[in-house]
Amino acid sequence: MALAMLRAQKSPMPGFGLGMGITLTMLSLIVILPVAALLAKGISYGPEGVWNTVNTPRVWAALYLSFRLAFLAALFNLVFGTLLAWVLARYDFPGRRIVDAVVDLPFALPTAVAGIALTALYAPNGAFGSIAKSMGQKIAYTEWGILIALIFVGLPFVTRTVQPVIAEIESEVEEASATLGAGRFYTMHRVILPMLLPAALTGFALSLARAVGEYGSVIFIAGNLPMKTEIAPLLIVIKLEEFDYGGAAAIGIAMLLISFSMLLVINLIQIWSRRRIGHV
């Protein structure tokens, strides 16, 4: 990185050198160098090596499973999270403040704890799992279990991005819509939801990125059957345990590439929707 680029424009404020020094040193040591080492491993492995590792049925199945279920979980969180944000921002009911705090629980609860708790709940002998079993269904150790774990870890993102936007909507907008003869449903659908869309998409993207890489809460409930319920991050761990560092790096790079292209698309949609609505 060119240091000349990072020179501060004339400022009377002190501490630029020290602050920038700490920032860049730690950023390099903890984030940039390790990620560079990952990419370097991929390069030394060669694009062909990376492709040959990734292009096996087992890896494709894991990548497809991870991204498909992460997308479905983020979609669920988009709808439920927006609804939750609306209820928390607009309605007053006893215990609202507690409910507001509970929304953040998936952020605060360690993933391994969530993993074993969800497994205990949805396993065939668990509280919810036994109900499913009596109906001839299985939740834990199937895709459904993975989906529930991914919904859990991504739950707060959409609510936390949408809630402040709802709080800022001027009531005049809704009044104007009503004055012009729109029913409440029409106002919601055509006036309010479009205003929430950019923030909701940000939450969706964060929830998606989190779910794609999630490991701790999933491995307990997944069952981890190759080709069926094996997620991509688990494959990396398996390759590492076999000391196949090149293979692990190849899958890691593939995950990074797919994640970044998905986030890029979502960012483009976001820019487009922001432009269409003009603000927020």
């Binding site: 404020m13 984030v31 391994a112 205990a120 490991y215």
Partner: protein, 299 residues
């Protein structure tokens, strides 16, 4: 949020009882009740049920068994290690967060947006990939790692690796809480202090720090919760050596895989209690310092 009396100020009390006007900016009571029911039901089902299960399973054979399992040497060493890792990782991230937020909010320079993107990068990298990257850089197979191991300072499968992994996954926490608050507050107070002849450190300690202390505490709180609970990244770099590099979440996995349900859930209960405490403190902070933290809720 909407006080109904404010919306119908022209009605006498007797009339209000007979005429129930609903403001045009509200849903009908039925829709409202339905939405609240869906939200609360969903949260109870998705979030509260797993939390309840942790404590139910921990106390399945009585409180005594739960406490006994936590008093075992393996459990105690895991608790000690987790506390040690958090005690290093959290101050490191606090210092980084303050330095980064200071540079980003008090100065203008080219490449600022790129710097912010780099700071946010750990949020979009899978913890497992983060652990893998650290193994590739510092593992004994790499150039740097081989030299470090040879000189008696191994990083991977040892404490430094666990700390690095914990710092990586919590990297943006403090900076992200501070930046919006410091942007909101601007630079004028610091500039005034400088004009009056205060030194740089004095400006930071007596002007900036009091202004950002609640946001800083908030960031530290979130950082601590994540550092103590990190599983994926730590699982990759720790080597899971019992009694040595097994943190609390790693020990939970080991106990669970050995079908020691009470022990696994007891330790999980400790972390869950910590999560609840974090949420409680966070709620108190938000409630008492809502105006100062308002900026941070916008991201």
């Amino acid at each position: 949020m909407f006080d109904s009396t404010l919306n119908e100020p022209f009605l006498a009390p007797t009339e209000r009882a007979t005429h129930k006007w609903r403001p045009v900016t509200e849903e009908s009571p039925l829709v409202r009740a339905l939405l609240i029911a869906v939200a609360l039901g969903g949260l109870a089902f998705l979030v509260l049920a797993p939390l309840a299960v942790v404590f139910a399973e921990a106390f399945a054979k009585g409180a005594l068994e739960a406490v006994k399992s936590l008093a075992k040497p393996e459990a105690l060493s895991a608790i000690k290690l987790t506390l040690l890792v958090a005690a290093i990782a959290v101050p490191v991230n606090a210092i980084f967060g303050i330095a980064a937020a200071w540079v980003i909010t008090k100065f203008d320079f080219r490449g600022k947006a790129f710097l912010i993107t780099l700071i946010d990068l750990p949020f979009s990298v899978s913890p497992v990939v983060a652990g893998l990257a650290l193994v590739l850089l510092f593992g004994s197979n790499s150039l740097l790692g081989g030299w470090l191991v040879a000189s008696g300072f191994p990083i991977i499968f040892a404490l430094p690796g666990i700390v690095l992994a914990s710092v990586f996954v919590t990297f943006p926490f403090v900076a992200r809480e501070l930046i919006p608050v410091m942007i909101e507050q601007g630079r004028s107070e610091e500039e005034a202090a400088l004009t009056l002849g205060a030194s740089g450190w004095r400006v930071f300690l007596t002007v900036t720090l009091p202004n950002i202390k609640w946001a800083l505490l908030y960031g530290v709180l979130l950082c601590n919760a994540r550092a103590m609970g990190e599983f994926g990244a730590v699982a990759v770099v720790s080597g899971k050596i019992r009694g040595q590099t097994a943190t609390m979440p790693i020990t939970i996995e080991m106990l669970y895989n050995e079908y020691l349900s009470v022990a696994a859930f007891s330790m999980a209960g400790v972390l869950a209690a910590l999560a609840l405490l974090t949420l409680l403190l966070k709620t108190v902070l938000e409630w008492r310092h809502a105006d100062q933290l308002a900026a941070t809720r916008r991201h």
